[in-house]
């Protein structure tokens, strides 16, 4: 199994270590990324996400450990790595007085071969801004241009560093579609984010990173299953009552101010039981909410603090 994984993996990181002076930014992390998956690194600012990415991109030299990207050791041939990947950097600027098309033409020329500029512009829905100066673009358009520069050399592996930070929900959803499209084309994507929704919706696997270490790594579903108590069922009770903790599937029940909150391993069974109680007239309730646990809960559970703190 592990041998097969290694054969399929496009990125393989072993005990990667990087520090800035006395501050350890990345503390001996290891992971592999399989060809064709969207791999997310989720964590708060300062967790070491960007440093990890920039080390894999060959922009920073690791102080320890090994990183092999596309079969190349990043320490040995960083430019060789950069020729095989697409990079979108967080907060990097553009030549403000070039147009969108000129920018892509210029960055395309920095690679050995590149995709037709107009095709990439269409992919990122920038046709209307093709001849507009970069300085006139909105935040979402700039971000799409940034992703376009990562796509221009038709790379099998794309690195996106907080691609949707600062975007409005609409622009964010647009970009999610584009990124999901990369996977559909067989490209591998490694992205960092501090939006748990983004990681949950977009990523096949997520590494949860905090203080330079990986706290957990798996598919979002599996992370939630393993690291949260389960689904929450909440109801507002009007009349009556029951031994909620004894209902099927329920692991824990708390009641306060007429609201009962249960955690359950099987929400369907639990809700069915509640409905039966209501039919029998044992309990009357007004509202029933079923809430899935999220990666936010996973993060809280694993690190003891919230993502956005």
């Amino acid at each position: 199994m592990s041998a097969l994984r290694a054969a399929e993996s496009i990125v393989s990181v072993t005990d990667l270590y990087k520090r800035y002076g006395p501050v350890v930014a990345v503390d001996r992390i290891s992971f592999t990324v399989a060809r064709g998956e969207i791999f997310g690194i989720l964590g708060p600012n300062g967790a070491g996400k960007t440093t990890t990415l920039e080390t894999l991109e060959g922009l920073r030299r690791p102080d320890g450990g090994q990183a092999v990207v596309g079969g190349i050791d990043v320490r040995r041939d960083p430019r060789g790595v950069r020729a095989r990947i697409g990079v979108q950097l967080q907060e990097a600027g553009f030549f403000e007085r070039l147009t969108v098309a000129e920018t892509l033409e210029l960055f395309g020329s920095f690679h050995r071969t590149h995709l037709p500029v107009d095709g990439v512009i269409a992919r990122l829905q920038l046709q209307e801004k093709r001849g507009a100066a970069v300085e006139t673009l909105s935040g979402g358009q700039r971000q799409r241009l940034s992703v376009a520069t990562a796509l221009i050399n038709d790379p099998p592996l794309i690195f996106l560093d907080e691609p949707t930070t600062g975007l409005d929900p609409q622009a964010r959803r647009n970009l999610w579609e584009v990124i999901a499209g990369f996977r559909a084309e067989g490209r591998t994507v490694i992205l960092t984010t501090h939006y748990m929704e983004e990681a949950q919706r977009l990523c096949d696997r997520v590494a949860i990173m905090d203080h330079g270490r990986i706290a957990a790594m798996d598919s979002p579903r599996e992370l939630i299953r393993r690291h949260t108590p389960g689904t929450t069922v909440a109801l507002t009770v009007m009349e009556g009552g029951a031994a909620y903790a004894g209902l099927p599937g329920v692991q824990r029940a708390e009641a306060s101010n007429g609201e009962v909150v249960m955690t359950t391993t099987d929400p369907v069974v639990t809700v069915n039981a509640l409905m039966e109680l209501a039919r029998d007239g044992q309990v009357q309730f007004q509202q029933l909410r079923v809430e899935e646990a999220t990666l936010e809960d996973v993060f809280l559970e694993l690190t003891g603090h919230l993502l956005r703190e």
């Binding site: 991109e57 922009l59 960055f107 920095f110």
Partner: protein, 356 residues
Amino acid sequence: MRAFLLTIVMGFRMYLRDRSSLFWGMAFPVILMGLIGLAFGRTESLTFRVAFVDQGSGPLGLGLRAGLAQVPVFIVSDVPDEAAALDLLRKGQRTLVVVVPPFGSPAPLRVFFDQARVQDSRTALVILERFVAEANLQIAGVKPAVEIQATGIAGAREVRFFDFLLPGILAMTVMQTGLQGVTWVVTGYRQRLILKRVLATPVHPFVFLSGLVARYAVTNIAQLAVVVLIGVGVFGARIVGSLGVLTVVGLFGALAFVGMGFAVSTWSKTPESANLLGSVISFPMLFLAGTLWPRDFMPAFMQPVIALLPLTPLVEAMRGVATRGDAVTPYLGGLAYLGLWGLLTFALAVWRFKWE
């Protein structure tokens, strides 16, 4: 190669779209040339207005008046009394006032000049003194023991003020592009993480940086062309020497100062501070190196310092070629010195260069 060429092409397009760099690179040198020409360029047509006050001297005064009128650079006008003549002098409408005493008076021939315009007045006085000396000799009937025979040599041209100024302005433009354009742009690219974005591609850093240098060479040629066209077309400056040699010398200077600009940009984090540092270096050079006026205007003890400034050999070479039609050969030593500056600062820049 494509990356190198596109870096130049796109860089030049950005330059043409940037109003402030167009202003500093093209408009400012032209405006400066015009303003300096207005201030100092008047003496280029060498004529002096002389007020002649005859207080009743008889034949001597008449002879003097007639003689003065024959001096080609004097425009003589009669003014009835001394006070009115002095008034004209104070208003700057006359350069000299000549007052001839009444016949038989022991008073000398008196001459008044404008202290505010020492240069003009002295020149006019010297001419007047020579004229009077000659008149004295003739009146005494003495044949001068030594005579001057002045012969114009064909080919030696009169250098007018704009002829002198234009190559200085060209050298200044070359220096400013390096010390103020490059510093501003490169530091800005670094601060806004544009250099990092370039570094994240497989392009060799050397290709991009040399593209950037070449872009400034191209920009400089465009600037020099505009300044020359306006200098010649509007201000009537004349370039005697070869335009080709002038271009090559300018380009050489451009490369050297771009090197210095890169070096300066490694010392500053923000474009503002880089630009300031560039100005601190370039302005003293601009005023000392004989760019806008002859370097002899500076005191003697400054001359060794001036000789060491990297701008000085560029100004001298460009001026020699432009105004005297010199070949580049006599200036090669100075240009090599400038090239050494460029080489050393560029090496320093490469050594200290940071991408982010």
